[in-house]
């Protein structure tokens, strides 16, 4: 006998955003149901043990942007969420040197001076601008965007809030803001720095997770987006969720359950029930039907409206807009189980930056070329990657003495081009292996013994090509 319960609200998809929405609604006293097609919750913030002893955060892998207001509102630490900040990072060069990024300002100035004395003051100028811009934008993240085509009071109020904030900046800062929102990260860095290596190190934040190159306008704002977070109030800091990124969604799930919400896993939405222009509930793959006057979809806009909603219930121009919405996967992920801590010969013994994000891209040109490959439907022959070994800080991620390495790789297309045809089907084992080899070749720039550090013979490399950016 299929279920036919009704709720006050239904959320389709138990990713971190769906769960957050559900938590707020449940804590407001509503009866909430979350339905999730997988047998586990978490969406892209999920940690699973794919090899005994090793925990992988499959997709997202570091945390900073989770708003502290949400952490506080939902009291997530009580449900086991603990974010451990990591320090700095580094970019390794083929000639055996590195540029290290320290959170200690004096150490960073010394390191910059080692590469390019002129960039020391430039860095202060750069970070001043970035922090000012972050301060300007942060308040907007917790508000709704105004619809400039509407004359509703709420939209006008939001527009007025924006204008007043902008006016408060003063002419100079306002000009800087407008430029920041429209420039490419490459041009922005070129205007500040001399050293190609320092530019390459800083540019990563401008392209990560996007289908844009370092010289594509708009990427300066992407950098800002990644500087806007915090760990325990330390602005711009990044950290690991203890136990993997799944800890975040586990905490959200527990919070929801405590507030009386219901989570059903293994319960994929077949369709949203719409009647006469109003949503009535969801019909699940397993035949269950649940009713609610409000349904929120944690799925992307294409899936939501093109696959799971009856076309005849939606206006034609809206559907056209949805069809044209661009979602272009640009990243791949390698999760590597290591027999021990790999050697980084360039780095001093016990260097703190090894606990941060590690890279091997040494110029903006190299990053732009990586993007050109992707435009043609190929993975980058000389890719950018963001590589971390979280088990140095969070020992729960790997067995004693072993390590786990996460490598976010950009760019890799969702639809791989082969013989003039682009298709996701082309990601066969050979293609995956070739991509992995290409990444390993480049990791060797930083740690030459990486190939010996795999946990063999159970080769536990797993990878994910993001179907969606983000």
């Amino acid at each position: 006998m299929a279920n036919h319960d009704s709720y006050d609200a239904i959320i389709a998809g138990a990713g971190h955003n769906g769960l957050t929405a559900a938590c707020y609604l449940a804590r407001a006293g509503l009866r909430v149901l979350v339905v999730e097609k997988n047998d586990w919750i978490g969406g892209a913030a999920v940690s699973r043990s794919l090899e005994p002893g090793w925990t992988y955060s499959n997709c997202s892998y570091v945390c900073s942007l989770l708003r502290r207001e949400i952490v506080r509102d939902l009291d997530l630490p009580r449900f086991g969420l603990q974010v451990i900040p990591y320090e700095g990072g580094a970019t390794f060069t083929p000639d055996g040197d590195y540029f290290a990024y320290y959170s200690d300002h004096d150490a960073l100035r010394r390191e910059i001076a080692r590469h390019e004395p002129r960039d020391v003051d430039a860095y202060d100028r750069f970070s001043r601008t970035v922090i000012r811009q972050c301060r300007f934008i942060r308040p907007f993240l917790l508000r709704n965007a105004p619809d400039p085509t509407s004359l509703k009071v709420r939209d006008l109020q939001e527009l007025l809030f924006l204008l007043r904030r902008a006016n408060g900046l003063g002419a100079r800062e306002l000009a800087e803001t407008m430029r920041f929102w429209t420039m490419s990260i490459g041009d922005f860095l070129d205007a500040h720095f001399e050293s190609p290596l320092i530019k390459a190190h800083l540019a990563g934040s401008g392209i990560i997770g996007t289908g844009l190159g370092v010289y594509s306008p708009g990427t300066a704002y992407v950098l800002l987006h990644h500087y806007m977070g915090d760990v325990d109030g330390a602005i711009g800091a990044w950290g690991f969720a203890r136990g993997g990124m799944g800890a975040i969604t586990r905490a959200l799930g527990d919070c929801l359950t405590e507030a009386g919400g219901v989570i059903r896993t293994g319960a994929g939405v077949e369709r949203f029930i719409v009647d006469d222009g109003r949503v009535k509930g969801v019909a699940l793959d397993n035949g269950d039907i649940f009713f609610a006057p409000v349904v929120a979809s944690n799925m992307d806009v294409k899936r939501t409206f093109l696959r799971h909603t009856a076309r005849d219930q939606l206006p034609e121009d809206f559907l056209r807009g949805v069809e044209r919405f661009k979602i272009r996967g640009s990243s791949a992920k390698l999760n590597i189980a290591l027999d021990g801590m790999p050697e980084f010969p360039a780095a001093p013994e016990g260097a703190p930056f090894l606990r941060g994000d590690l890279h091997c891209s040494t110029s903006l040109e190299e990053l732009e070329r990586a993007y050109d490959d992707w435009k043609e439907g190929q993975w980058s022959r000389n890719p950018y990657f963001d590589m971390l070994i979280p088990s140095q800080i969070d020992p729960t991620m790997a067995p004693q003495g072993k390590h786990m390495m996460t490598v976010f790789v950009q760019y890799a297309p969702y639809d791989l081009e082969k013989d003039g045809i682009r298709s996701g089907q082309h990601w066969d084992d050979a293609a995956r292996q070739a991509l992995a080899d290409c990444v390993f070749d480049k990791i060797e720039q930083a740690c030459p013994d990486i190939r010996f550090g795999w946990s063999m013979p159970r080769c536990a490399r797993r990878w994910t090509s993001n179907a969606r950016s983000g």
Partner: protein, 494 residues
């Protein structure tokens, strides 16, 4: 010492337009040109060989006969597309399957261009004194007009406008059309002269800019030289003096006021105002950087102006014959831009200082002269624009033309290659850039050419920018010059 009310550095079309506007108000003006010809980039044989984006008013003022021409976008399979404004067909007269979609897209972009046209006709919104200051009320009124124009589009179109205006040309075009010569033509128009490929965000804005005033393409009767002469005649008609071969060595500044110029031969001319067709950095250098604050010079130094277009002027021993084109179609604007993807690909090597392998071409045939704009080329290739690099560029371009006009190579009796470096030398345009400064979203309107100097005036009183680096930007429109003169008068300098 000789004395004028105003001196204009550079007799390009914008310098001449500024001079004419001041002359019309009874001011005595002298235009100083370093080369021996007027017109700057629009002079015969320089970069420009066609005219777009020219307002009806400007056409009347100049009194030049402009012949509207078709655009032929050549296809490798011989199915060439012929376009005039929003109408598309095949070269052999067959109906183009995507003609309706193309027409709708073109009409929409032209409509959007119409909304923005108000902004080009006057100095951009200033930021001094904040958004709500009393001084900017008039500008807010002008913005209100744009807002009203948007409102008149209706809600659906207005949303569409807001969606595409910051977007990239590639997606916007391919959302409506399959990729091919028609999409390629639009994509190439979006980025010709720009340091951007059609996939770069912001290229819809540059496409809309080019489609100003209906999106027509004109050939001036008598060539570009006639148009340049018309600008000069208009200035002379208002009593302005034009001196050729009179390079300016520096702008004279006293107590932070511009008070004249010194020519390369040491002669000095006094004036109350100096207008410069050069870019902001070049102008600051002429006046002496000591007169500007560090932030302003830093911004000027970092202004983006990388030329990406080269001009090849071929002299031919006979008429080239393009496969699949009628006699009349040979006189259209001919494009080699087989697809939007190909246009994007053509930008790739330029980014790394490499010469193009399959350049995008815009070609105009005039008797046995054949004028070709090739893009994208590097501003300065690795190793510089050596003889070998120029020869290589010529070879690649001839090959690309030969593919559509067999026997073309045998007709070539001479070829003048103008690289971005040459164009910079000849005209003073920063980086040899078509628009003097990249028309990126970070360098248009209030941010053009650099933040803090959008309203033509530099920090030295009486020193103004009047070239294409200033708002609204490049193309032969005369607007930067005219707006600059209007601002100078509004500021009470003269």
């Amino acid at each position: 010492m000789e004395r004028f009310d105003a001196l204009v550095i550079g007799a390009g079309h914008n310098g001449l337009a500024a001079a004419a506007a001041l002359g019309a108000r009874g001011k005595s003006v002298c235009v100083l040109e370093k080369s021996g010809v007027v017109g700057g980039m629009a002079a015969e044989g320089r970069l420009a060989h066609l005219v777009y984006n020219l307002s009806e008013g400007e056409k009347r003022r100049l009194g030049v006969n402009l012949a509207e021409v078709d655009t032929v976008s050549l296809s490798p399979d011989g199915a060439h597309a012929v376009v005039r404004r929003g109408a598309a067909g095949f070269a052999d007269g067959r109906a183009y399957p995507d003609a309706a979609a193309y027409g709708a897209l073109h009409a929409r972009l032209v409509r959007f261009a119409g909304v923005l046209a108000h902004l080009a006709e006057a100095p951009p919104l200033g930021l001094d004194g904040g958004l709500a200051s009393f001084a900017s009320l008039r500008e807010i009124a002008r913005l209100g007009k744009v807002g009203l124009g948007l409102k008149r589009l209706g809600k659906v179109e207005m949303r569409e406008f807001l969606r595409v205006i910051l977007s990239n040309a590639y997606d916007t075009i391919l959302d409506e059309l399959p990729d091919g010569p028609l999409a390629g033509a639009l994509a190439s128009d979006a980025v010709r002269g720009a340091w951007a490929g059609p996939r770069s965000p912001g290229t819809v804005f540059s496409l809309i800019y080019r489609l100003g005033h209906g999106g027509a393409v004109y050939r001036p009767e008598g060539g570009m030289g006639a148009l340049a002469e018309a600008y000069a005649a208009a200035a002379r008609g208002k009593g302005c003096e034009i001196r050729l071969n009179a390079p300016v060595a520096r702008v004279l500044v006293e107590e932070d006021r511009a008070c004249g110029v010194e020519l390369a031969d040491g002669a000095r001319i006094a004036a109350q105002a100096v207008l410069s067709s050069a870019g902001p950095l070049q102008t600051m250098l002429l006046a002496g950087v000591a007169h500007f604050d560090i932030e302003a010079t830093r911004r000027a130094r970092n202004m983006r102006a990388k030329g990406s277009a080269a001009k090849l002027n071929f002299a031919l021993s006979g008429r080239p014959v393009f496969t699949g084109l009628s006699e009349a179609q040979h006189h259209a604007r001919l494009l080699v831009a087989p697809s939007a993807a190909a246009v994007e690909r053509a930008f790739n090597p330029a980014k790394y200082g490499e010469l193009p392998k399959s350049p995008v071409l815009e070609m105009v045939l005039d008797g046995t002269r054949f004028s070709v704009i090739a893009s994208h080329v590097p501003t300065e290739p690795q190793g510089g624009w050596t003889r070998a690099a120029r020869d290589q560029l010529e070879k690649v371009v001839v090959q690309a033309i030969e593919a559509h006009a067999p026997g073309f190579a045998g007709l070539v009796t001479g070829c003048e290659v103008l690289t971005p470096a040459d164009i910079a030398d000849l005209t003073g345009a920063p980086g040899g850039h078509w628009h003097h400064a990249e028309m990126g979203l970070d360098q248009v309107l209030t941010l053009r050419p650099i933040a803090g100097n959008a309203r033509y005036a530099l920090a030295v009183q009486g020193l103004y920018l009047c070239g294409a680096s200033a708002h609204p930007g490049g193309d032969v429109t005369g607007l930067p010059g005219r707006n600059s003169a209007a601002q100078l008068l509004a500021d009470g300098v003269l």
